[in-house]
Each structure stands twice: as C-alpha cells, then as structure tokens.
C-alpha cells in the first residue's frame, strides 16, 4: 500500500516511463497526461492531490498531516524568495526585456486594478479584457464539465459501452487540443462561439475519461448492497456511483480547468479577436510593450492559481468529513 502510494505520488514522467505499472499507477498517469502535453501550472502546483487511487479515502487522510508538517508561512517562503531573487536580478541587470516584478505589479495595478470602488477597483480596460476571457473560459469549462461527467458516468457504468468507447476516448484525448483550434476556426469562423467550442472540446476529454474510470471503479460489494437494498437506478447513481466517482471526477476537472485556461489564451492569440487577455498579449507584443506582456502573464498565473484554489475548495466541501476521517 505504501509502496503503491509512493509510486502513485511520483511525477507523471516517472510513472510514464516505468515499465511495470500497477493499475493504480497507469490510471494516475492517465489522469495527469490526457494529451501528452504538460497540463500546466494548476496541476503542478498541487500534483499530490491528483492521486485518484481507489484508496483515495486513506491517502487523503494520511496526506493531510504530512502537508501540515510544513507551516503556512514556510510553504510560501520559497515563492517569496523566488520573487525577491527575480526582483534583485532584474534590477541588477536592468534589461528592458525583463522588468523587475514590482514594476510589473505596479503596471498591472495601474492598467486593471485602479478603478473606482463601485467597480471593485476594476478599470475599464480590466472589464474589457479580463471579463470576456473569464466568460469564455467559464462557458467552455462548464459545458465540458456537465457533458463530460454525464457521458463519463454513462460510459463507465456499462462494461460494453466502456469497451466500445475506450479506443475513441484514447484517440480523442491524444490529439493535442490547440491543434484542433484551426478546425473550429474554419467551421465557426473567428469569435466567441469558436473560442468557447475550442475550450469545451479540449476540456471535455480529461473529465470524461476520469469520470468513466471513476464510475467503473465503483466497489462491487457496494453494488451488491445497492441491489439488496433494492435501490432504484437514479438512487443508485446518486447515492453510490456518483459519490464513488467524485475523487476521480475532480481529478479530471482540475486537468480540464488548466486546459481551459490554456485554450482560452491560445484561442485569443489568433487574429480576429478584439478583446481578452490573449488579445492583450499579442496587442502589447506588436507595440513592443513588454511591461503589459509581463503583466498579462502574471495575471494569467494568478487567475490559474485562484481558479484551482476555488475548485479545490469545492472539492473539499463535496468530499466531506465522511471521506477524510
């Protein structure tokens, strides 16, 4: 068990190159690398929580004291040190290409967060830049989540459906999502529908595959209990299958969330967009406004972090005390 856990917690690279993988491990590998590309910072910042082993109740309760072993302040100290180092190095070097982080922060503040109190300090530029991006991302992610969970549970509940759909799923998620954007551009033309469709389609696969795996791994004894208790189909789904699959569903949702962010930026980098964070990036780049480029990058990092934190909070709320104790 401990050996399994150690392996399951290893880096994705480790579990991918290992020759003899345990079933746990290969599933973990799937959860983390839906498309072969690195799924981005949302995952890396919290890799240990994407361990969706069947014994997730145990690993959860045991990883908690381990995390508490590093006090809050100390945990942030590395990030703080990195920023301080960056500041010092950038100042010492004085390059126009690499402005110091404090200047970037001041620039971002002036650009987006110096608005009136009534607008939550958001400036017009922020409303025109951040909100359209977040709106597209939310629309794409929610579409992907709803469709992915529903289809995933349906596929995972039926052995035959799983066997039939699995090759399709493996193929679909192996295609690097940004490569599909040109297809959507041709089909839907430039604009928000194309962007939402790109995000939704890319974010669908991780949550679908993980939901299917989660539903498939429902404890057979509990299914017997459900049969003996004569639960109806919907009751069985609501009280047994869905809660069993929840840790895996959230593993998929976290991947989908970071993919949504990637696709949001990518689809806004294309010509034909008129607003959004990605547009700000390309626009600032053409004007050689590196401070704005760096500000947009920082903003994306902060957004990704906040969104992931929000998702983790939802997860913790849903996978309640019954699981963790």
């Amino acid at each position: 068990m401990t050996a399994d856990r150690r392996r399951a917690h290893r880096t994705p690279e480790g579990s991918r190159t290992h020759m003899s993988r345990t079933p746990d491990e290969s599933r973990t590998g799937q959860a983390r690398t839906p498309d072969g590309s690195r799924p981005g910072k949302a995952l890396a910042s919290d890799g240990s929580r994407t361990c969706p082993a069947p014994a997730v109740q145990n690993s959860r309760s045991r990883s908690r004291p381990a995390r508490a072993a590093v006090p809050l302040l100390l945990r942030w100290s590395v990030l703080l040190a990195a920023v301080v180092g960056w500041e010092a190095a950038a100042r010492a070097h004085g390059s126009v290409y690499f402005p110091p982080p404090l200047r970037i922060a001041r620039h971002a503040h002036g650009l987006w967060f110096s608005g009136p109190l009534g607008h939550l300090f958001l400036t017009r530029a922020a409303v025109d830049t951040i909100l359209p991006s977040l709106g597209r991302m939310a629309a794409g992610f929610v579409l992907a989540a709803v469709a992915g969970i529903a289809l995933g549970i349906a596929v995972g509940r039926s052995r035959r459906a799983y066997a039939l759909c699995n090759p399709v799923l493996q193929f679909a998620r192996a295609v690097p999502p940004p490569a599909l954007v040109p297809v959507f551009v041709v089909v839907l033309d430039f604009g928000t529908p194309m962007q939402v469709a790109s995000i939704a389609f890319s974010a669908l696969w991780p949550v679908l595959v993980n939901s299917a795996e989660g539903a498939r791994a429902t404890d057979p004894l509990r299914l017997e209990v459900a049969a003996v208790l004569r639960l109806t189909g919907p009751e069985r789904l609501w009280f047994l299958v869905l809660p069993s699959a929840l840790p895996r569903i959230f593993a998929g949702l976290r991947l989908s969330l970071s993919l949504s962010l990637i696709l949001m930026v990518f689809s806004e980098l294309l010509p034909g967009t008129a607003d959004g964070i990605g547009f700000t990036l390309t626009d600032a780049q053409t004007r050689s406004d590196l401070l704005t480029v760096w500000s947009a990058l920082m903003l994306l990092g902060v957004l990704g972090f906040l969104l992931n934190t929000g998702l983790l909070a939802v997860e913790r709320r849903l996978i309640g005390p019954g699981r963790s104790s």
Partner: protein, 250 residues
C-alpha cells in the same frame, strides 16, 4: 420458509456448491459453518438472488428466487465497504426506507429508533468512518433491520471484530432474533460462534464442490449467556462434533 433444492454453483469450470438441499423453517437461526473457501459466501449470495443458481431451485415462502427477494436483508463482513462513507449514520440506515415512500422526517425518526435498538444513540449525525468497527457493524445491522426483513442473511458479520465486541454483537443478534422471530442464515467459520448463536448448525465440506456433511440441532437453553452457555456439557459436546465435521468433513 426458505427452501434450497439441490443447488449447484460454479465459477467457470470450477465447482463451488455441489447440490445443497436445505429447508429453513420460519424463525430459525441457521448457522452455516465450513472451512474457508468452501463456498459459504457463494451460498449466501445465491440465496440473496445476487448470483443465479447454476442448477437447482431456491424458494422463499414458496416463491422461486430470481432476483433479490422482497423483505430480505444482508449484513456483510466488510462493514467499512458495505456502509456508504459519504452518508451520515442516519442516512445510511434510512436509505432502504426511501422505497416505502415515507417522508424525510419519518425516515429519520425510524432510523434513529432502530439505531437506539442496536445500542447506538447519539451517533446519528456522524459518519461511519468516525465510529469503531463494532459500532459500524451495528449500523449495518440497523440498516438491515430497518425494513423489518423476514429473512436476514449474515456473511461472517463479526469475523473482523475483537473478541469482546464480537460477544456483545452475538448477544445483540440473539436478542433481536428472540424479539422479532426473523429467519436468519448466519455464515461463519467460527465453530464456537455457530453453536452459541444457532438453533441449528449445518457444516459444509471442503471445496471444490461443497456439500452438507452435517446437520445438527442445537438443543441448548434458549436464554444464552457468554460465560454460562459456553461451559455447558451440551455446548462442549456440540462444538466438538461440529469441529470434527469441519476438520474431517468430506
């Protein structure tokens, strides 16, 4: 009344049960004993309608078993898996009441009443994982009793509990059985337990292809107690006989 008529069961080419015939009259507490791996659990799952019998018939009150029979309840050994960890104790127990069309408040009241009966008051709002093993198995028993079963199947229910907890739960079971007169099929590999708890003990032979090798009535006084009953000469004689049948049964 539960009737098994030459029931056979196999996994692929591997015979598990080789013609089991049994009649369990209403209100009897039948213990099924046998060496591990002899197909006791398979027998129980077949009676519960979870596994279709390969050959032979099972009837409950004259109705052939095709799916899970009405008013049947099962208590499994692995309470940690059989209870749903994401539901509170009360919601676990109240789960089978949903199909009776009771309102939420009525379901909760009934669940709490049955929890009190199995000696668990004040834990209704906790989650199963917050309770000890013995308490969790009490919750599972409460969930089985809450829909007033006429046939209760128990698959080594106390097998993973410590000695003292096990004795307490054996006495709880006897108390429930005396009060409700439920027909109970109790599977165990513990010879002492089978004689202490049962009205009748059936011994299965070693697999593959288990058969009934011994069918003994337990004629001990109805009131049993952990110290006194186990010292009775009748108890000692019976456990010796069952023990011999388990060891040498073929």
């Amino acid at each position: 009344m539960l009737r098994l008529d030459s029931v056979r069961q196999r996994y692929g080419d591997h015979p598990v049960l080789d013609g089991i015939s049994l009649t369990v009259p209403d209100g009897q507490l039948l213990c099924v004993v046998g060496p591990s791996g002899c197909g006791k659990s398979t027998l129980l799952r077949t009676i519960a309608g979870l596994l279709p019998a390969h050959e032979g018939t099972i009837t409950v009150d004259g109705t052939p078993v095709t799916g899970v029979p009405e008013r049947l309840a099962v208590v499994f050994q692995e309470y940690g898996r059989s209870l749903l960890p994401w539901l509170t104790v009360r919601d676990n127990v109240a789960l089978p009441l949903r199909r009776r069309g009771l309102r939420r408040a009525a379901r909760h009241a009934e669940a709490e009443a049955i929890l009190e009966r199995v000696g668990l008051s004040g834990v209704a709002r906790r989650h199963p994982r917050q309770l000890s093993g013995g308490m969790q198995q009490r919750v599972a028993i409460a969930r089985a009793l809450v829909c007033r079963p006429s046939l209760l199947l128990m698959d080594e229910p106390f097998g993973s509990l410590d000695a003292r907890t096990r004795e307490d739960l054996e006495d709880l079971l006897l108390e429930v059985h005396r009060a409700d007169g439920t027909t109970i099929v109790f599977v165990t590999h513990d010879i002492d337990e089978s004689v202490y708890v049962g009205d009748r003990v059936v011994v299965l032979s070693h697999g593959p292809g288990s058969r009934v090798v011994r069918d003994l009535a337990v004629d001990l006084p109805g009131e049993r107690d952990q110290i006194g009953t186990r010292g009775l000469p009748g108890f000692v004689a019976l456990r010796t006989e069952v023990g011999r049948a388990v060891r040498h049964g073929e």
